[in-house]
């Protein structure tokens, strides 16, 4: 717990320090601060911030003790020891740790408000082939869940459309900003739900032959559509004036290599087929889901494709599998040489990403790899590692300050920065806590 009271009772040497204390007192303490003034509005704050004397867990450049980090103009300007900068707001991080903001590589955060209320669901559109649907358009920057999510250190996430063969185009968003464009993080991917040959759950009572047959038909459908897209692309590149066909237009962008394909495949046989399909069609792709990746880890490694795995906290894909199959999956992939990023695939509890990572770490992935899976590896997979994923000078100011390991539930996060903005450590859930912890009036007899 930050020792604000000691600082308050000490003698501030000058007004600046005193102002800083007040600032921290009002803005930076969230749950520990019971003294929010009525009418006080807590907003993300742009400015110059000097984080002093922290242990920097850079991810890419090792652990730097007793170091300072300067945020200005939305970026990490400088990392070093005993930094100073005029007009910087000082944040004393003695005994604390700074981590790069975590990236959740797949979820529906911002695309749905209340799951059972269909009017609030914006991640699924009608039609089997709808790659032109832009998740970014439908993200609600003011979704209540966003503020709930980021206080756990998740600063960026991939918004996923779902449903159908090509549900749409996913986008990476930073969890700050008031318009989707302000949130947009610079990566888009067209999703392909690879035809599944698995029997999905105990309610699926098709015979073995039917399962096989239907999966072959679905595969054929995919190939047909892809062939059409390839032709479309060829004609267009040759200068043809073709009728408006947005679905093909978008797929042709994938064929042109302008946009990545994110291929969702979970059963081992489907992953295998997807890998082959990628090779045959020569596209740039990322594998997502990959629940049974552990069965064919070497094959995935040889394919050179990166994997977005998760959720980690889920049941094994088969009843005969070992109980911890989903926990151990990312670790097995990493050991085989696959680059792995993690996702929660959740909507309102994306805040649990560090706990998914913690379980993956405990069950074979190791803490270091697990941390990379939610920071630099995710950034690399999305081609954004020059901007995010680690604490390095010049990268975006996405980071948070903790009193310990962010994967551990008992750790408290005291400060959070996204795109260089200092984010108020509050949200509706915290405000409800503050209002009701000592309800007044209390019990009426």
């Amino acid at each position: 717990m930050p020792n604000v009271w000691a600082e308050m009772n000490g003698k501030p040497s000058d007004m600046k320090a005193f102002k800083y204390i007040l600032l921290v007192f009002f803005l930076g303490l969230g749950i520990f601060c019971q003294a929010q003034e009525d009418g006080e509005i807590l907003k993300p704050q742009k400015g110059i911030f000097l984080l002093q004397n922290a242990t920097l867990v850079t991810v890419t450049k090792g652990i730097l003790e007793n170091s300072d980090l300067l945020i200005a103009d939305g970026l990490i300007q400088k990392i070093g020891k005993n930094l100073s900068f005029p007009d910087a707001q000082l944040i004393d991080c003695t005994g604390k740790f700074i981590y790069p903001g975590m990236i959740d590589s797949g979820n529906r955060l911002g695309l749905v408000e209340v799951n059972s209320v269909s009017e609030t669901q914006d991640f699924m559109e009608i039609g089997n082939v709808t790659p032109n649907m832009q998740a970014l358009t439908a993200v609600n920057p003011n979704a209540v869940a966003i503020a709930v999510t980021r206080v756990n250190g998740v600063t960026s996430s991939i918004a996923l459309p779902s449903g159908g063969l090509f549900p749409g185009t996913a986008a990476l968003i930073h969890l700050n900003g008031y318009t989707p464009d302000q949130m947009y993080g610079g990566f888009k991917g067209v999703i392909l739900n690879f035809p599944s040959s698995a029997r999905t759950s105990t309610y699926d009572t098709r015979s073995e032959e039917d399962v096989q047959k239907e999966s072959e038909e679905a595969q054929k459908k995919l190939d047909d559509i892809w062939e059409k897209a390839v032709s479309y692309h060829r004609l267009k590149s040759a200068g043809a004036m073709l009728d408006y066909y947005p679905e093909m237009e978008h797929l042709s962008k994938v064929i042109a290599g302008e946009i990545s394909l994110m291929i969702e495949a979970n059963a081992a046989v489907d992953i295998r087929r997807a890998i082959k399909w990628v090779k045959d069609n020569n596209v740039t792709a990322i594998l997502t889901g990959v629940s049974e990746g552990w069965r064919i880890a070497e094959e995935i490694a040889s394919s050179g494709l990166s994997v977005i795995a998760g959720p980690v906290l889920t049941i094994p894909s088969r009843q005969s599998d070992r109980y911890d199959a989903a926990y151990t999956n990312p670790g097995i992939l990493v050991k085989a040489g696959v680059k792995v990023a993690l996702r929660t695939n959740d909507a309102e509890n994306v805040r649990n990403l560090p706990f998914h990572a913690g379980f993956a770490a405990a069950y074979g992935m190791g803490k270091e790899e697990a941390l990379k899976a939610v920071t630099i590896h995710a950034a690399e997979i999305f081609g954004l590692d020059h901007q995010i994923g680690s604490l390095e000078e010049g990268k975006m100011g996405n980071l948070f300050i903790t009193d310990g390991d962010p994967f551990e539930p008992r750790t408290q996060i005291s400060h959070l920065f996204i795109q260089g903005y200092k984010i108020p450590m509050t949200n509706r859930q915290i405000r409800l806590y503050q209002e009701f912890n000592e309800r007044s009036p209390g019990l009426e007899q």
Binding site: E113, V117, Q121, S201, V211, E348, G358, Y433, N437
Partner: protein, 460 residues
């Protein structure tokens, strides 16, 4: 069966064990950090189990020479975790055709072959409260289970000492299933209260009729003819008489308040609220008049009635004196309830003791079984879990789980495939990408809008 397999494993070269074997439910766990829950934490301490019960706790215990030794050096020992809201090990969940179904009993549909039982054991859970679903305002009677996986007799999983409990449900689920789905009351929260009151009043009326009959029948040359028998109303009479603990699925603060009022009116004080996402808003009332709240760690926003939830629920309830437990209502979450309890340390700063109590002694009290389980105390049943590190750490991995002193889970030596039954016709197993079963709205999922639209919904 499985016990014999475990015995064989004990005899083989396992790093923890000395070769010496007698009864399967007697052993000593040596030299672990023992988290008793009720009496503090003791490092380098032994726990001696005889005949399935905890015989002694202390340092360097003098035990018989031939007793099995489980070496827990560097490890943590805690009581078996208790899940006060679960649907694993059940063949059916919801008799959703009537808003009051107090007559049905989950003990009729125990499924001892559910792989979910083993997975829960692997997460340190030893006792589950197998409940009726939440489709009805007054649901069916629940059954408290001990996870004795490997027994093929369903009733062998029943915890004999557990008192009777029954499921109630308020809010969106019963109003959706009956009101919006079938045009039967209740359709609104007004109707939920009315249906429950009707049930209570009808039961009282039925009781009068039967008492009159029994009195008349005892007369000489009586020609009293018996009234109609209703197992449903008989059960509600038992609720009113305090013989059954109500566990009520609820979310909104106002509906929780409603039922507290109704129960006070009818003299019912054996009530536990379940899920109770807005419990923090009526914490003082819950503390004063009920047996507490059994909640999720952090689920919210999957329905409108949980939109205004907070993950700080556990902290607010605990700090206001409400007996609080954390449950799973899921075959997936039950596997890491120790982690769910740890979240209360992030959201509200509960202490280690407070957090661990949420999954041990507190749910034991809410199920009326705290005299037998829920803490490591001499005389209690030997439901124990050994962790390789402190259970509230994200990196903790359960190693062994004991129920009544018999080992049902051993991470080192258990086979990968723990199914008890294999279907000879099923060459290609189904693949589960999500836990579809084991939740409150099972069998009635179609009452949710857009069923099938989204694979990833919660249904609770």
């Amino acid at each position: 069966m499985k016990h014999i397999f475990n015995l064989l494993c004990l005899l083989l070269a396992s790093p923890f064990l000395v070769v010496a074997q007698n009864a399967p439910n007697r052993f000593v766990i040596k030299n672990g950090t023992v988290l008793t829950i009720t009496n503090g934490t003791f490092p380098k301490t032994d726990v001696w189990v005889e005949n399935g019960k905890i015989k002694q706790i202390g340092q360097d215990l003098k035990v018989p020479a031939n007793i099995t030794v489980v070496d827990a050096s560097g490890k943590y020992v805690m009581p078996g975790i208790i899940d006060a809201h679960s649907h694993i090990a059940l063949e059916a969940i919801n008799e959703a055709t009537s808003p009051i179904t107090s007559e049905v009993w989950m003990g009729d549909v125990i499924d001892p072959f559910d792989i979910g039982i083993y997975r829960a054991l692997a997460g340190g859970v030893t006792v589950t409260h197998a409940m009726h679903g939440s489709a009805n305002a007054i649901g069916g009677q629940n059954v408290t289970l001990k996870l004795r996986y490997g027994n093929t007799d369903p009733l062998a999983l029943r915890m004999q000492e557990a008192p009777r409990t029954i499921k109630f449900a308020l809010g969106e689920n019963p109003t959706r299933v009956h009101g919006r789905g079938k045009n039967i009351q209740p359709r609104s929260r007004m109707g939920v209260e009315a249906v429950i009151r009707n049930g209570f009043e009808e039961a009282l009326q039925y009781k009068k009729v039967w008492e009159a009959y029994e009195t008349e029948r005892k007369q000489k040359n009586s020609t009293a003819v018996p009234p109609v028998y209703s197992l449903r109303l008989e059960t509600i009479i038992d609720i009113l008489a305090g013989e059954i603990i109500i566990h009520c699925h609820s979310y909104r603060a106002d509906e929780i308040y409603m039922l507290i009022k109704v129960c006070r009116e009818y003299g019912i004080d054996k009530i536990v609220f379940s899920h109770v996402n807005e419990g923090f808003k009526v914490a003082p009332e819950l503390a004063a008049y009920t047996m507490g709240a059994s909640i999720f760690s952090d689920w919210w926003a999957y329905k409108f009635e949980v939109y205004y939830s907070t993950a700080y629920n556990a902290a607010v309830l605990t700090k206001n004196g409400v007996l609080t437990s954390i449950n799973s209502d899921s075959g997936e979450v039950i596997r890491h309830l120790y982690h769910e309890a740890a979240k209360s340390q992030r959201y509200g700063g509960l202490s280690d003791e407070e957090a661990l109590a949420l999954i041990t002694i507190n749910p034991a009290k809410q199920l009326g079984i705290d005299a037998f389980v829920g803490s490591i105390e001499v005389g209690k049943q030997a439901d124990l879990v050994i962790f390789d590190s402190h259970p509230l750490s994200i990196y903790a991995i359960p190693q062994m789980t004991f129920v009544d002193g018999i080992k049902y889970f051993d991470r080192e030596s258990d086979e990968l495939d723990q199914r008890l039954k294999i279907n000879p016709s099923e060459l290609i197993e189904p693949i589960f990408l999500k836990e579809y079963d084991h939740n409150c709205m099972q069998n009635v999922d179609f009452y949710f809008t857009n069923f099938g639209r989204n694979l990833f919904e919660h249904r609770h």
